[in-house]
Amino acid sequence: MMNKILKITTISLLLFSNIYAYEKGDTISDAIASHIQVTQDKLYIIDFFASWCGSCKKEIPLISLANQKIDTTKVEIIGIDVDKKVAQGIKFQNKLKKDNHLNFRVINDPQNLVIADFAPIGMPTLYYIKNKKIVKIITGAVDNIDKVILQDIKEMR
């Protein structure tokens, strides 16, 4: 509990050091990198979503489809659920898992600290992160996102 409070406080303080949205080429802060666990030498794909976001609901099954085909030692997909009511977010995630539509790790961000730091201009938004550097951003619903992700991974090798 104490660790959680410390983490939230640290991230909150560090937020003041970043008043702009992350753009391609930016490096994310160490605090955020540690919080969402993107510290290893692999490509991370961060998906910001919420239970109330219609486009997110449609995209998650396709992202999970892509996740089945990637080498998870080299690429990891992480979901960030920004539902303010954690129970609502978890219920949503569980339903997706039950339907085999969600197979990647999800971090709950009910205080919206992580998303406020990234500050995407729409939802859903995917951030590709390598060595804490943002290498690509995909904002909004995209057709065949599973194929787009797999193609991107191939090109980024």
Partner: protein, 72 residues
């Protein structure tokens, strides 16, 4: 006719002072079905609009699509 530009101006002035830049992740409430302009069920809102159209002399203001009816 003068009422139209006056109401439009007042509305603009009113809302311009109160408007916040809502971030994409703050739109949960705005996305709720109870916030929909057409109501929870779009067909029912249109049933209502056509009842009014067939019993009153006014029309318009609810979008351009709707289809014709022999209601005049």
């Amino acid at each position: 006719m003068k009422i139209v530009p006056l109401v439009a101006l007042l509305t603009t002035l009113f809302f311009s002072g109160c408007i916040k830049d809502v971030k994409p992740w703050e739109k949960e409430i705005l996305a709720k079905k109870t916030m929909k302009e057409s109501g929870i069920n779009p067909i029912n809102k249109q049933f209502e609009e056509h009842i009014y159209f067939s019993k009153e002399a006014s029309k318009g203001g609810g979008g351009v699509a709707g289809g014709g009816c022999g209601c005049n």
